[in-house]
Subunit: 86 residues, 2 copies
């Protein structure tokens, strides 16, 4: 599954109309999925809040993604699939 290649991938992507070069060891399919998610989220928040500028949209997407990550991380770390009720 993992890309064991030591070479860093350079991928040029477009997010909310701006070009970004993403550098890293990530699987290009993963990068594409992440980029699409961020781009879509920014556009969705913009539809609901047309007065927000690009910085605020991006910050809100960052907050949402970081929140999701931290919640999932906590779930995983406190993983008790069949918690006992006492």
């Amino acid at each position: 599954m993992k890309n064991q290649n030591d070479k860093k991938q350079r991928t040029t992507v477009s997010i909310y109309g701006q070009q970004y070069t993403i550098v890293g060891h990530e699987d290009p399919a993963h990068v594409k999925e992440v980029i699409r998610h961020v781009d879509e989220q920014m556009r969705e928040i913009k539809r609901k809040n047309p007065y927000l500028d690009a910085t605020r949209l991006a910050v809100l997407v960052a907050v949402n993604a970081a929140s999701q990550y931290k919640k999932l991380e906590q779930e995983v770390h406190s993983d008790q699939p069949h918690s006992e009720e006492k």
Copy 2:
């Protein structure tokens, strides 16, 4: 652990020098942790890339957070703690 209160929390926070009102059912401690993470990440990327504007910083933090989330999600969904070798 969960805030079972049905009332939405309104929390005013500062991220990279701008004020945001976060509305939701989240635990305020969780919100604070997430906000601090996003704010710190933006400042850290700025230190390494002083030419980046706030929108680009926020987009990059969003991309990183979404990437972390999607990787962890995949790990959890393909969770086979003791996969059998056959």
